[in-house]
């Protein structure tokens, strides 16, 4: 496996870079121009709701499907024209744990070792190391069918690490896990990042991206709507929310128009509009004067703390 480490000319390359990735399925646009850059040894989280195109992005970057347009390089190699080089340097842990229920944890790991080109004793040794590291030593001899959801995910992740990958793809690694198992997965991923593995992960949870990622990319309906560090994104999103209740639908339309892209949520049924603010009296007064100079459109208003959901809504509702 010495060849794995001889990156040569690609020594300084980014772990991952993509420009203009586009993908459609049956005339439906799934990705419309994705640009990504992930420095070597960092963790990038792609955050987005269901159907945003996260899994499609992972499938393109991990060489499973070809994008309709755009280019991407992973570990220094082109995912479309140099698939085999990419595949030798990546591991993929998909959304659904790809483990054989009727094999034991140990057998699953050893099989991957053999397929990665290790001989029998190397595979057995590696399986033992990983079982220990992922707290599966006791369960290693049992069939996976008897494992809990959290144990399955840990085994799935362990299977991705049999031959230390340069870039690890994790597609929604904690979806469907209970809070405790989620914490464990977070610790494991954080440990990998510390060891210098470049990790590309997708998630629906802001908290997960916040915990694990150096960089966050927010994906919505196939397009990147925001990116930056967790702190940068939080700064972009105000801490407080101003909830306005309008007198009638006409007033709602006027005020929504006056707010422009500051209106995060417009609810025509409830006649409410939500906008970000700092919560101070001065800002609220100025805003109300600006959008409702006649003092006739707004019935009442309230200021509340932004929730994580608000942050997500604001970023994905551009």
């Amino acid at each position: 496996m010495a060849e794995e480490h001889s990156v040569g000319a690609n020594e300084n390359a980014l772990a991952l870079e993509a420009t203009g990735l586009e993908m459609s399925y049956g005339g439906v646009r799934v990705l419309s121009g994705i640009d990504l850059q992930m420095p070597r040894g960092s963790v990038l989280a792609m955050l987005g709701p269901n159907g945003a195109g996260k899994t499609t992005t992972v499938r393109i970057l991990s060489t499973l499907i070809r994008a309709d347009a755009g280019r991407a390089r992973v570990a220094g190699f082109d995912v479309a024209t140099e698939r085999e080089h990419v595949r030798r340097r990546i591991s993929l842990t998909g959304q659904y744990a790809a483990v054989d229920e009727l094999q034991t944890g140990d057998e699953n790991l050893r099989m991957i070792g053999r397929l990665r080109g290790f001989d029998r004793s190397q595979s057995a040794r590696r399986a033992g190391e990983l079982l220990e590291r992922f707290d599966l030593l006791e369960a290693g001899g049992r069939r996976v069918a008897t494992y809990s959801g959290g144990m399955r995910r840990r085994l799935d992740l362990a299977m991705s690490l049999v031959s230390e990958p340069a870039v690890l793809f994790l597609d929604e690694p904690t979806t469907g896990l209970d809070p405790r198992s989620r914490q464990t997965m977070w610790l494991l991923v954080a440990e990998l990042a510390q060891r210098g593995v470049s990790v590309f992960l997708t998630t629906q949870y802001l908290e997960e991206a916040d915990r694990l990622a150096d960089q966050i990319v927010v994906l919505d309906r196939g397009a990147i709507v925001a990116q930056g560090t967790a702190a940068e994104l939080k700064r972009r999103v105000a801490e407080q929310r101003l909830v306005l209740r309008l007198v009638n639908p006409d007033a709602l339309a006027d005020v929504a128009w006056a707010l422009g892209d500051r209106a995060i949520e417009v609810d025509r049924g409830e006649l409410t509009i939500v906008a970000p603010c700092d919560g101070g009296a001065r800002e609220v007064r100025a805003l109300l004067d600006e959008i409702d100079p006649d003092r006739s459109a707004i019935d009442d208003f309230a200021v509340r703390n932004a929730t994580l959901d608000d942050v997500f809504m604001e970023l994905t509702n551009v």
Partner: protein, 247 residues
């Protein structure tokens, strides 16, 4: 090649542990032999002892059942994320499919041995020499590989493992409308043409001839051509279906 071997070992390990399927696979040959020979055999007149007549048919019936398990297993691998992991590891899709066919062949040969053992216990008197046995095993293997290849294609076509298992019905039915269990000339005229020319009949006749030491005539070539044809079509179909599946 070594990828195929590793994946064949995996398929065999998984099928050994599917307890319900394993029990069915072991019981089926025994039960079928007992049902045909002990229950129906007295009423069916074939000119020879019925146990002697029916052995090839039961061999083919069991092979059909066992390969339908292959369709289910392939479909599971395609829908479970297993194939994504393997492809991302640069394992060729063909290695996985070859592994399934090889495991299916191994399972089938084991069940074939069981069928012959039960038949011998029920009074089967083959008249084949060593060459006859080897030739019979070869023809059976050709049939098994062909039908396993077909099962792989069905497994790639089916959207769910449940749909793939519907394939069992078709392959379990074919031997009944052939010379496997009753002579074709006892069937109604409209069925005779189909029964005489579908692949199971020449394969059955070839096995019967080889095991009993009687002449097989052109049946052997017809049987092998059918097997080669089914396998060739299956490989082409599997290639196209696999490409569509991973797009």
């Amino acid at each position: 090649m070594s990828e195929s071997l590793i994946l064949t070992a995996r398929c065999l390990r998984l099928s050994r542990r599917q307890v319900d399927a394993l029990i069915t696979a072991l019981l089926l040959p025994v039960l079928l032999m007992v049902v045909f020979v002990v229950l129906f055999g007295g009423a069916i007149h074939t000119g020879t002892k019925y146990v002697t007549y029916v052995v090839p048919g039961v061999l083919l019936l069991c092979a059909g059942y066992s390969s339908s398990l292959t369709a289910v297993a392939v479909c599971q691998d395609m829908t479970s994320g297993c194939i994504d992991r393997l492809r991302s590891m640069n394992v060729r899709g063909a290695s996985l499919l070859v592994g399934h066919v090889a495991a299916s062949a191994a399972r089938n040969l084991a069940s074939g041995v069981l069928v012959v053992a039960v038949a011998l216990a029920l009074g089967f008197h083959p008249h084949a020499g060593v060459l006859g046995w080897l030739a019979a095993a070869g023809v059976l293997l050709a049939f098994i590989v062909a039908i396993s290849g077909l099962s792989v294609a069905i497994g790639l076509l089916a959207r769910s493992p449940e749909a793939a298992s519907g394939f069992t019905f078709l392959v379990m039915f074919l031997p009944y409308a052939s010379s496997a269990f009753v002579p074709v000339d006892t069937m109604p005229a409209w069925l005779r043409g189909f029964a005489a020319h579908q692949p199971i009949t020449p394969i059955t006749e070839t096995l019967r001839g080889l095991l009993l030491g009687t002449p097989v005539g052109s049946n052997a070539w017809v049987a092998l051509i059918w097997c080669a044809g089914i396998l060739a079509v299956s490989i082409v179909a599997a290639g196209a279906l696999f490409a569509r599946r991973i797009a």
